[in-house]
C-alpha cells in the first residue's frame, strides 16, 4: 500500500497543458478570460509554494511559540472574514470581537481536545498535526459563525416591528427573538449538516483523497476523515451557538428592549 509517488516540476508543467489550452481558446473565441485564468493560476502556484516553504520551516523548527503565532495569524484572518461576510454588523469592537471570540473558543477547545485525547502526537502541539487540524476546524466554524450572525442580524433588523410587538405584549427578550434566533442557528448549521450527508456519496473529501493519493490505506484514511468531520461538526455547532446567543444578548437588554442602535448600518 505504501506507494507514495513524488512529483517532479516536469509533472506540474505537464499538468498545466489543459489550462493553457483553455487560455488559448479564450483568446481564439475572444472570451477575455485568459488574463484572469493565468493570473489566478499563477497566484495559486505562488501562494502554495510559499505555504509549503513556510510549513516546512515551521515543522523543522518545531517551536511551540511559532506554532501558536501561526495559529493566531489564522484566527485573525478568519475573524476578519467573519466580519466581512456580514451585511449588518455589531457596532465597535463587538463587530469583530464577538464572532472571532466564539470561533476561537470553539475551535481551540475542539482542536486541543482532539490533539490530546485522540490523535496524540508527540509533543501534543506538534505543528504538523496541530496546524492543519486547527485550519480545517477554523475554516468550517468561520463559515457557520458568519452565516449564523448574518442571518440573525438581518432577521432582527427586518422583523423589528414583530419583535417589538411581542415585547409590548409582555414577552421577555428571549421569547421575542426566539424565531429569529432559531433561523440563525439553522442557517449556521446547514452547511455542515449538508456536507456530512453528502460526504462519500456525492463528494470525496479533499483530505481523504489526499491521504489516499499519498499511499494511505483507504480504510485508514476514512477513519481520519470521520474523526475530522465529527470534530468540525462539533466545533461549528459550538461556535454558532456561542456567537448567536452572545449577539442576541448584545442586541437586547435586561429591560427587555431590542437594541438595534448597537447594530451598524450595512455597507453600501
Amino acid at each position: 500500500m505504501n506507494s507514495y509517488i513524488p512529483l517532479t516540476h516536469r509533472d506540474l508543467l505537464l499538468a498545466s497543458i489543459f489550462l493553457a489550452m483553455n487560455a488559448g481558446f479564450s483568446i481564439l473565441l475572444s472570451l477575455r478570460l485568459e488574463r484572469q485564468l493565468i493570473v489566478s493560476a499563477l497566484r495559486m502556484i505562488t501562494q502554495l509554494f510559499v505555504v509549503g516553504f513556510v510549513l516546512k520551516t515551521i515543522f523543522t523548527l518545531s517551536s511551540p511559540w511559532l506554532t501558536l503565532l501561526v495559529a493566531a495569524i489564522m484566527v485573525t484572518f478568519a475573524g476578519r472574514e467573519i466580519w466581512a461576510r456580514q451585511d449588518r454588523r455589531l457596532r465597535g469592537i463587538w463587530g469583530i470581537g464577538l464572532g472571532g471570540t466564539s470561533m476561537l473558543l470553539a475551535g481551540t477547545i475542539v482542536t486541543v481536545f482532539a490533539l490530546t485525547t485522540q490523535i496524540q502526537p508527540t509533543p501534543w502541539w506538534s505543528p504538523q498535526f496541530a496546524l492543519p487540524l486547527f485550519g480545517m476546524i477554523l475554516g468550517n466554524t468561520m463559515t457557520g459563525v458568519s452565516l449564523g450572525l448574518d442571518t440573525l442580524h438581518t432577521a432582527l433588523y427586518r422583523e423589528r416591528a414583530a419583535i417589538e410587538a411581542k415585547l409590548l405584549l409582555g414577552s421577555t427578550r428571549w421569547e421575542a427573538v426566539s424565531a429569529a434566533h432559531q433561523r440563525a442557528l439553522r442557517s449556521g448549521f446547514t452547511p455542515i449538516i449538508n456536507s456530512m450527508a453528502a460526504t462519500g456519496v456525492v463528494s470525496l473529501p479533499g483530505m481523504m483523497t489526499g491521504q489516499i493519493l499519498s499511499g494511505v490505506d483507504p480504510q485508514e484514511a476514512v477513519k481520519y476523515q470521520i474523526l475530522i468531520t465529527l470534530l468540525i461538526g462539533g466545533a461549528t455547532g459550538l461556535g454558532v451557538l456561542a456567537a448567536t446567543f452572545a449577539s442576541a444578548w448584545r442586541l437586547t437588554d435586561n429591560r427587555e428592549r431590542l437594541r438595534l442602535d448597537r447594530l451598524a448600518a450595512p455597507r453600501k
Binding site: I163, L168, L169, G170
Partner: protein, 202 residues
C-alpha cells in the same frame, strides 16, 4: 384603577417631560410629525432607554421587570408588528377575543391570515390584542389613521369604554376634531418637549 404619572422623563432625543393622566381620563397628545410623540410613548413603556420616573399608582416602572410593566401599561404603535401566519396566533389562548373583535366590526377575523389584512384591519386588531391582555393604562398612537369614518367611530367608542372602566389613556392624534371628541385635556409637543401646560379641550 391607578393614575399614570410621568416625571422628568427624558431620552437622548426628547424631554424632560412631566405629566399625569388620571384613572378614566383620556389625554390627547398632538404635534407635528417628528415632534417626538411616538418616542415619548416608547419611552413610557421602556422600549428605549430613558431617565426619570414613570409610575402607575403604586407601581414604579423601574422597580419591576419591563415585561410585567408592559402588561400593565399597553402601547399600540401606529405601525403594528405581526409574527404568526394567522390572527389567532397573536392572541393569548386564555383570552376570548370574539366580543372585542366584534365591537371593532371585524367579527370572524380571528381565523384570517395576517398577510391578507388591510392596514386598517391590522390597526384595529393590534388594539384588540393589546386590550385582550387587560392593561390598566393604554397608550395609542394614531389608532384611526387609516380607518374610514364608520370604523373610526367604532374604535373611538371602544376607547371611551376603556376610559369608563377606569383606564388611564394617552391618545396621539393628528386630528383636532378627534381630540375634541375624545379628550378633555390636550398636550402639544414640538422638538421633543411639551410646549406648555395642558390646555382644556372645549
Amino acid at each position: 384603577m391607578p393614575a399614570l404619572r410621568i416625571e422628568r422623563l427624558a431620552t437622548k432625543l426628547i424631554g424632560p417631560i412631566s405629566f399625569d393622566v388620571a384613572p378614566g381620563e383620556c389625554l390627547a397628545l398632538m404635534g407635528a410629525s417628528g415632534a417626538g410623540k411616538s418616542l415619548l410613548l416608547r419611552a413610557i413603556v421602556d422600549l428605549d432607554p430613558s431617565t426619570g420616573n414613570v409610575t402607575l399608582g403604586l407601581h414604579a416602572r423601574d422597580d419591576m421587570p419591563a415585561s410585567e410593566w408592559r402588561k400593565l401599561v399597553a402601547f399600540v404603535p401606529a405601525e403594528s408588528g405581526w409574527w404568526g401566519d394567522r390572527v389567532r396566533d397573536h392572541f393569548p389562548s386564555n383570552c376570548d377575543a370574539t366580543e372585542l373583535i366584534g365591537k371593532m366590526g371585524l367579527a370572524g377575523s380571528i381565523e384570517w391570515e395576517v398577510s391578507r389584512l388591510s392596514t386598517g384591519e391590522r390597526q384595529r386588531l393590534a388594539l384588540a390584542r393589546a386590550l385582550c391582555r387587560k392593561p390598566q393604562a393604554l397608550l395609542v398612537d394614531e389608532p384611526t389613521a387609516s380607518l374610514d369614518d364608520c370604523a373610526t367611530r367604532l374604535v373611538e367608542d371602544l376607547i371611551r369604554e376603556c376610559c369608563r372602566e377606569g383606564m388611564a389613556l394617552v391618545l396621539v392624534t393628528h386630528d383636532r376634531l378627534q381630540a375634541e371628541r375624545m379628550a378633555k385635556r390636550l398636550l402639544r409637543m414640538s422638538e421633543g418637549r411639551i410646549d406648555r401646560p395642558s390646555e382644556n379641550v372645549p
